[in-house]
Symmetry: D2
Subunit: 364 residues, 4 copies
């Protein structure tokens, strides 16, 4: 039997239930979970802020485990056969169709209407399709990536979903060598964006966020300046950014805060003809008021939303973890590990900012 956490409905306590070991279809892989991430999205799922979620679900979209069984001859992206005993992760997004207009003409697979996500849009009634479980069933065709030996599983989970999400945002940010980048937000996406901005050539990275434990992490991973939202008013934050940028504002600002009003600050923190990437507005928390003349047209600004991520962002994230693991030590984002039975506690700690990053360890 396999123990797994079930989120039966929004705002209901999580439960641990037992599943039978699944039968493997041809091409499927069975992963024994080593760690699963607790992500801000799991909090949103629990608050019922996402549409189209087929509760009950097994949460956990970013996972690492050991291949304990497989059927047929599944391969990795280099065409190498997967084999038992490998430590591996996989892209949570699956069933991107490859045939619809968004997949083929717009080449924006993150808007494919057929895509599903492990731990989010697969129902527990359809199997072990989330990571807060002793085992995860990888359907045929799921993109499995053996973890390079140099990346400890904890480091991979410490980076978590924030790394590919930030990778996509950074790709859209088109940072140039010598740029100043402001990152709004110091949660997992913001911290990863601050890392990737440095790795992309920014010579000044300013993180605007809070609370103190997160700002300490921002400093640790190399932010040149940190602006505490609890200590400074919005106007003061904007002034501070201007002081640090010869009065012009940042070349690129990346919003990763989750707060709609941060968008107003972001416009003001960005220089004329700069670029503003919005990646933190993952749920609908209401409207804001903007001035299209001052904020966009006269400013000659470029604003880019960034939704989800695809396998390229995931793969590039793993390359970065492998190369820069010792420098950034993503595992230090993990405040605490929780057993399956402590999943409610994990959600509570994340939703109250007591953890920078939490991890589910089914072996505890």
């Amino acid at each position: 039997m396999v123990r797994a956490v079930i989120m039966t409905a929004p705002e209901q306590p999580l439960e641990v239930v037992e599943f039978a070991l699944p039968h493997l279809e041809d091409g499927a892989v069975l992963l024994r979970t080593i760690y699963s991430e607790v992500c801000g999205t799991d909090v949103h799922l629990h608050q019922g802020h996402l549409a189209g979620v087929p509760y009950p679900i097994i949460p956990g979209h970013i996972n690492v485990g050991e291949i304990v069984d497989l059927a047929g001859a599944p391969v990795d992206l280099d065409g190498q056969p997967l084999r038992k005993g490998q430590i591996a992760t996989f892209l949570d997004v699956h069933e991107t169709c490859g045939h619809c207009w968004f997949c083929t003409v717009a080449k924006t697979t993150t808007r494919c209407p057929h895509r599903k996500v492990y731990g989010i849009t697969y129902s527990a009634q359809d199997g072990l399709l989330g990571g807060w479980s002793e085992m995860i069933y990888l359907k045929p065709g799921v993109k499995v990536l053996p973890l390079p030996e140099g990346i400890p599983p904890q480091r991979f989970i410490g980076a978590g979903c924030g790394l590919p999400t930030a990778m996509h945002a950074i790709e859209r940010a088109e940072i140039m060598l010598g740029d100043t980048v402001v990152v709004q937000g110091s949660g997992p996406v913001g911290l990863n964006a601050a890392i990737l901005a440095q790795l992309s050539g920014a010579t000044q990275v300013i993180v605007v966020g809070g609370p103190a434990n997160r700002l300490a992490e921002a400093r640790r991973i190399g932010a040149d300046s940190v602006i505490d939202i609890d200590a400074l008013s919005p106007a003061e934050r904007i002034s501070r950014v201007r002081e640090l940028t010869q009065g012009r504002g940042a070349d690129v600002t990346i919003e990763a805060s989750g707060n709609p009003r941060a968008v107003n600050e972001g416009f003001a923190m960005t220089r004329d003809a700069g670029r503003y990437v919005i990646v933190g507005q993952y749920t609908n928390l209401g409207d804001i008021s903007i001035n299209p003349h001052l904020d966009i047209n006269q400013k000659h600004l470029e604003v880019r939303g960034s939704w989800g991520s695809d396998f390229s962002h995931f793969w590039r994230g793993v390359r970065v973890l492998d190369k820069h693991g010792e420098r950034f030590q993503w595992e230090r984002f993990i405040t605490r590990s929780y057993s399956l039975d402590q999943a409610n506690e994990a959600l509570d700690d994340v939703s109250h900012y007591r953890a920078v990053k939490a991890l589910i360890d089914p072996n505890l």
Copy 2:
């Protein structure tokens, strides 16, 4: 003596006054005005909606004339000497410094703090630096472009300032062959954007605007569909665009309306992962409410402001006029010509949408 129109202050009647013929500095050119444009910006100038205008000014930033005098050996951009008798136009933007951070590092000369504009930010106290005048004084270094023989002066003025403005917006729109483009607004910028969208490969161009005389022009220049804002509500306009685009919305939307609320419609008219260029918000007409989650982040939208234009847009516009003059017949945008003494009437007609495009002819 030279007769010229003076705008002494916002909301004051224009006056015709006489100037002495100027002395030419080395490299300067004297142009006898053939035609000068009446642009929406002239209405804004008269309403006092632009900051930093050194009234009194001689309006008229897009002009065509005959070279009647020159000092030294000014050349065109191909290094050919300018000569008396040539029919020429010139870039209204001058004194872009070439040394500041925006000119050299950001390479966004339209944000150079030193740039000045003929007919807008040069004072009449400094000379004949606007086109609503019998003569225009072109300072040394002004970028003079002899008009190709195939372009009648009326056609050039019919295209007017809207052509380089739309050229810049279209450059930022990055239209691909087979795209659907919505243009919001059917004034001079919108009509030129609708022309340039077709020339850039769009296979469906939809113009949303009014009143009837402008929509007739939109149809004449080849818009595939025209949506009348006086006949349909915003929600109906959005539905109509969706019907014409398999329910997805346009690949690219270009806002050229001048109405802040058009921006909300524009978000809804654009497909996921599409591009939205805002070029019509040239003056501050107030705030709007947007939803950063739905409008930008989840939509994976790209929003680009487009401010001003540079010589490349001007030059490319002239290439287009030369090649496609017979097809689009920009001179037909001109509703009426006005003498210097009728300048007040011209402004009034333009501000009340009685003219698609008005022209000042100092020879009337």
Copy 3:
């Protein structure tokens, strides 16, 4: 029974043989061929110039037909069910895997090692997988595109494989409004490139090619200038292009000639800091000598190879055919139609430049 043309091996006469009607797998579609294209690639196949071809094959990669049978519920890219009686075409490229590194990380599906092409890399032993046949078997998942009513099948075949190939090249050419574009080659790819360059904003398109019947077509579809390679030497051709471009050379040159030495001319015909797209070197016809200092480094040139095409190019090509059919009348490229039994004659005419474009009509 189904009659089909078989190419058994390079340099062997084509034969017409009979096949049994295939059984349809779930999701498959049976197309009754209306027309199939004769492409330059078919000549290369017959000369044995392509590697990895599983002779015997049924040639014919660009096809249009009527859906006469289908199994299960195949849909088009908008998710609409396909149905009997529809006139449709399909993307010849199939089995692009969607999982390998080129598909997922490099996002260059045209370099996917798993892709197959109807009429080229499918063997006749595996079924009716080419268009020179009364029927074509579309495997499950083949991307089927119902032909818009406004596009006569002859027009679609007249455009042929040259249209998506040129579409990809033009996408890489990044033409701007007002650019001058030189197209080297006046075969089907070159003529389509000359059309698409115009539709992308070029205000001067110069076609360099021959023989006379093809140059007549270049003029008919709107080339501003035509340079006859039989009348002028390479040095004279280069001089002519320079004369037409203020001595600078073209902003963009597109090589679609198939002659390696054209590449040397192309370097010389392109301006400093211009762009040179090479799409005509589809088979290996030997080496050339270049000077990396003069041709590339000092010239600050950008050279881009363009290989194959994907569904986006195919779809955009159909949009262009639908919008601009009357203007360009692609069907006029078709010099002659051939029955299945005349396939040898068709190849011979194409290989000797007697036809601009030839068509196989199994109903003759």
Copy 4:
């Protein structure tokens, strides 16, 4: 009196001569030279490999000095007044016109026909317009950049001309996070490219070059792998790159070798659909043979020449020096300092690869 080195003609010994202190035009600046670079271009100048050089010249295009005099009120790019006592550098490129077609329409100022370069295309007959001199005369409008306090002058010269040159090449390389980059050449441009590739997100940087002292520097600045051209044949070098890249080749290759035949290796070292930047072919050292089918078209390769640099590259380079000075310690590239009287020796050491980087110190 001011002592300066004169290169009277190719292949002639350099001489030290005395100049009078210049009179300063309005806006001019007089710099007391602290250090001047000895660049590979100075060797080319001495060998007579560059066209259009107005011998006699004072060599030395990258320089740092102290402002000892100024006339009028020259400012830096932030509009701040320059003042005596500042340690400053300046862009060697001057007189880019800002009016020609390349400056305004093509926006490629490095191809402006009017640009001049200190130490290269200014004659000694026109003044102290090169850095191998006790004083340098900065004409009005020269772009002066006060050196940030954190950058020791030796570090700035250690980076030298190779830094902005590599900056331009890297800009054209468009490296993505997780890319593998091969740098061909381990001279000053190659070493700087290897640094900037790391700073741009490459997670694997492979340097191909020699001799041993340069490869030691490549390792010191963080190259993941070093391939010694004296130890391996071209075929072995290519195999080695393929081994390091799952058989695919590098995502991006940057040629900075100066050897035409390196271009053939570069094609083979780059993956399909990759990018190849050619920046090392600064003088004409002859032709090479390429195969346009295999090397470019089928490979779907992008090849970009990179010529010169502009102020943005210079400015961004200084940002990088300021941020990453301790990490890369560019001053360690300097093998030796030479007095004005030792300039012949300096050229000889550089041309025989005895120095990675040499420096002229007029105070020795």
